[in-house]
Amino acid sequence: MSDTSETILLVEDNPSDVALTQRALQRVCITSRLVVVEDGQEALDYLFGSGMHAGRDISQLPGLVLLDLKLPKVDGLEVLRRIRANKRTRRLPVIVLTSSKEEQDVAAAYDLGANSYIRKQVDFAQFDAAMKLVGAYWQGLNEPPPKVRSQ
């Protein structure tokens, strides 16, 4: 088993965005494994080992979550709230990656404990640059949070 801290969980419903994100991450030489879930419910299932991800070793948490806000089923802010509400996942670094520039979204994300809020620029060159910085920062520079010991 590879170290799950190397895993990046991308929560994104738009396949084009998924592909472009993957491309961008590859281009900036991020070696981490990219797990993609397409809606909020799946993201929660993945993290808490339920639903379609039932039976997954949930002790293996991703090193970083890239979370879109506008998602089918359960929206991004609710996902974030659940992550922070759970003792085990509450330290998980979560970066909100969205095209919304609404102030209320930014405020809500930070209120719920997002570690960062990055806007998806239409200009893909800028998106590329942003991804590069994210990878460098969160996987190189940033000290990952200690794991929460279960029980």
Partner: protein, 822 residues
């Protein structure tokens, strides 16, 4: 009876005799003193002669004779002072027998000079008192009195030759006198006494003869003086007093006034008689004075009483006069100040009524005045009354044919115009007063009231308004016809408060009665609404009533008057309106809910737009870029250009969406009004703009100290747009100057943002604030044309206004105000 003369002269005679004896005795004693004095003087003189003679012998004769006879010889007749003086005085004694002048000693040379016992006592005295050398005393010699003067002779040193040791003495001396007598003396010892004695009798006798003459003459003088005094006393005092006493006695004998008893007259001298008479007289006088004083007092009291009566009479008269004067004054002032015009006439014998006087009010009612008419007849005073009943009436009253008259009359001539209440009455025979009260105003008021009542009746009829009046005390209610119509009962019915209350809707009675009671209590007008059950058809009618309370001068409510309106029609209309209003409100509420839903929908739409519309754009851009990067060797230059175009348009589309969202947010955002530091806001924006464009030379001039009320977040967006535009449109200038401040436009404060940039043509100014409206080509100045629309939306949301002034290439100025309403 004794007389004053006997009583006075007897003692006086005795005193005079005693006085004479005293004088004679004094004269005698004095003459004795004089005699002694003279004897003393004679003795002293004899002594001095004696001494002088001896001095001469011892000092002058003795030395000369001694020279002549030789030292041892001694001739006493010439050389002894004692001998010589003795000899001289022996001769003197022959002329003045009795006179004794001699020198004696206790141890004399001549035994004749042996001292008598009296003289020895004197020597003894001198020896005991060495400082005393002279002494005078009276002595008895052979039964005769003498005055003797003794002078002590004390031994001196030069005398010792003849009086000391006899061996030293001249031989002749010793031979003559022996060695005993006169020797063995010592210096200072009393050798002997010079004695002069003169017999007193001889001198006294000589003097006595002289004195008796003097005494005789004095006695004669005294007798003469006493005689004179007695005669003078008799003439001056005694005789007159006797005469007065005699007269008083005569009066006493005849008159009762004196009340002197004859007994009292006897055995009294004149002065007693006089004094008794005087006492009696004085007593009588005092009695008389007392009675006089009493009479004076009685008289004074009488006078005072008379005076008081007089005074009272005068005061009463004055009071009566004052009362009369005041009464007159009162009536005069009543007449003078009376608002009623008064004319006074006198009926002459030719039955003319002549004006005798007027009061000021009479002057006032006539334009020309009546004063100058005094003396004229009543026809001349009121020319237009000539030949009317009025004048005849005046005459009849003056004659006494009629009592006081009262009537009203209109009158008009060139002097007087008006309607008058006239009173005519007689004040004396042939004298009348005519009082005219101007009631023109009252008459006019009555006329106006009639007109007003008429108009009111018309008005109430036209307004379908019922009028009612309630006499509270009599509990009588008066209705007009309209009221009866309104309540649907015949106008023949008698109305009372109770009847009215019965017709009222049962639910309204309590409230209306309470309101009415309050109006009466507070004496204020009241307005009530109530329902009645109409009498003729039983229909419920809505009545609006007004009541006005009338109170008498004591504040007692006497009447309540008011009106009634049938407002049933209005009530129904109001009901209708209220129903419509409720419906309308409901509709508004429904619409508001719909609008809120729409707004929410719009928000959700905007959110979707921001998210879902940009996602494909990002895809287009991303895949275009991927195509360019991954297949660049297979694409020619033109294909790459096309891809570039696709990406540029995508960016532009994204920008448009972004700006539209901003505009939508500005419209939707909730306003939070707070104090805003406009200067600080502008400065922070300017700083950020300069930081974003470090290569640009930007000069910001921002007025300090500006503050206002507004939503800071929205104002920041607006100012960012305005200042950002200014920066953008000055990009072709080497030095941009951008100003922000507050100025006054048409006396109203307005903020402005001014630049020295490209400006614009004012012909297009109207389009300036429309969305997607642009003044410049995108190639010159990029932009979506939404910024100023956003600014305008923000300013409008603040209740302000925005406008711009510009010239092409001359820069532009944007003005805006906040909250124009204030």
């Amino acid at each position: 009876m004794r007389t004053i003369a006997t009583r006075f002269l007897l003692p006086f005679g005795v005193v005079a005799i005693l006085f004479s004896i005293f004088i004679f005795r004094e004269t005698y004693v004095t003459s004795q003193y004089h005699a002694n004095d003279r004897i003393g003087q004679q003795a002293a003189m004899a002594m001095e002669f004696n001494l002088a003679i001896r001095e001469y012998v011892s000092e002058t004769m003795h030395p000369i004779v001694q020279k002549i006879v030789g030292k041892e010889d001694y001739i006493p007749e010439m050389m002894s002072p004692m001998f010589v003086s003795q000899s001289v005085f022996e001769k003197v004694q022959k002329r003045f027998p009795g006179y004794i002048v001699r020198f004696i000693s206790d141890n004399p040379r001549n035994p004749a000079n042996q001292a008598s016992p009296q003289e020895l006592r004197a020597i003894d005295y001198f020896r005991r008192n060495p400082t005393v050398s002279q002494k005078t005393e009276q002595i008895q010699i052979n039964g005769q009195r003498y005055v003797a003067q003794f002078k002590a002779r004390r031994m001196k040193a030069e005398c010792l030759r003849c009086h000391g040791d006899p061996k030293d003495a001249p031989a002749a001396l010793v031979k003559q006198y022996g060695v005993t007598g006169g020797f063995h003396r010592e210096v200072g010892d009393v050798a002997g006494l010079d004695t002069v004695a003169i017999p007193v009798e001889a001198v006294v006798l000589a003097m006595a003869s002289e004195t008796s003459w003097k005494q005789m003459i004095m006695a004669m003088w005294l007798a003469f003086l006493f005689g004179l005094i007695i005669i003078a006393f008799h003439l001056v005092v005694s005789r007159r007093l006797s005469a007065m006493a005699r007269h008083i006695r005569e009066i006493a004998a005849t008159s009762e006034i004196s009340r002197m008893t004859p007994l009292e007259m006897d055995e009294r001298d004149e002065i007693d008689v006089l004094s008794v008479a005087f006492d009696k007289l004085f007593e009588q006088l005092r009695t008389m004075q007392t009675s006089l004083e009493q009479r004076v007092q009685e008289r004074t009291a009488d006078l005072a009483r008379a005076n008081d009566g007089l005074k009272q009479e005068i005061t009463e008269r004055q009071r009566a006069e004052e009362a009369l004067r005041q009464s007159e004054e009162k009536f005069r002032s009543i007449v003078e100040s009376s608002p009623a015009a008064m004319h006074f006439y006198r009926l002459e014998s030719d039955s003319r009524l002549v004006l005798t006087g007027t009061n000021p009010a009479a002057e006032r009612i006539s334009s020309g005045g009546h004063q100058n008419l005094v003396g004229k007849t009543i026809e001349e005073v009121f020319p237009n009354l000539r030949d009317t009943q009025v004048l005849e009436l005046h005459r009849k009253v003056a004659r006494g044919d009629l009592g006081p008259q009262a009537f009203e009359m209109p009158y008009k001539d060139e002097r007087v115009f008006g309607f008058y209440d006239v009173r005519v009455f007689r004040t004396g025979p042939g004298i009348i007063a005519s009082i005219l009260v101007d009631i023109t105003e009252r008459k006019q008021a009555e006329q106006e009231l009639r007109a007003y009542s008429h108009r009111l009746a018309l008005a109430t009829e036209a307004a379908v308004m019922g009028v009612w009046e309630w006499d509270v005390l009599a509990n009588a209610v008066t209705w007009d016809d309209r009221m009866f119509e309104m309540y649907g009962i015949p106008s023949t019915e008698t109305m009372t408060y109770q009847r009215w209350a019965e017709m009222m809707h049962a639910e309204d009675v309590t409230q209306v009665e309470r309101q009415l009671r309050r109006a009466v209590t507070e004496k204020k007008a009241g307005y009530f609404n109530f329902r009645i059950i109409r009498g003729n058809d039983g229909a419920v009618r809505h009545i609006q009533a007004a009541a006005s309370v009338i109170a008498d001068e004591r504040g007692q409510v006497t009447n309540v008057v008011g009106v009634n309106f049938d407002i049933t029609g209005r009530k129904l209309a109001e009901e209708e309106i209220r129903k419509l209003n409720t419906e309308l409100e409901q509709r508004v509420a429904d619409r508001t809910i719909q609008l809120a839903a729409a707004n929410r929908e719009l928000e959700s739409f905007a959110y979707s737009v921001s998210h879902d519309l940009t996602a494909p754009l990002r895809g287009i851009d991303g895949w275009s870029l991927a195509l360019m990067e991954d297949y660049s060797e297979r694409l020619d230059e033109r294909a790459r250009q096309y891809l570039g175009r696709i990406r540029a348009e995508t960016q532009r589309m994204a920008q448009l969406i972004d700006d539209l969202l901003k505009l939508s947010r500005v419209t939707r955002a909730e306003m939070r009004t707070n104090p805003v530091d406009m200067t600080g806001l502008a400065e922070s924006i300017a700083l950020r703009l300069q930081e974003d464009l470090p290569h640009r030379q930007l000069e910001f001039v921002i007025q300090p100290g500006l503050g206002d009320q507004g939503d800071e977040r929205l104002l920041r967006i607006a100012l960012t747009n305005l200042l950002g535009n200014a920066v953008k449109f000055t990009s072709k200038r080497p030095a941009a100057r951008i100003e922000f401040g507050l100025t006054h436009v048409k006396d109203r404060p307005a903020y402005f943002v001014r630049d020295n940039g490209a400006g614009f043509d004012m012909a297009f100014a109207k389009k300036l604030f429309g969305a997607f409206q642009r003044m410049h080509r995108a190639s010159e100045f990029p932009g979506t044309g939404i910024g100023l629309a956003t600014v305008q939306r923000i300013i409008q949301r603040h209740g302000g206004r925005i406008w711009a002034e510009a010239q092409v290439n001359q820069g532009a100025t944007f003005y805006f105000t906040l909250d124009e309403a204030s």
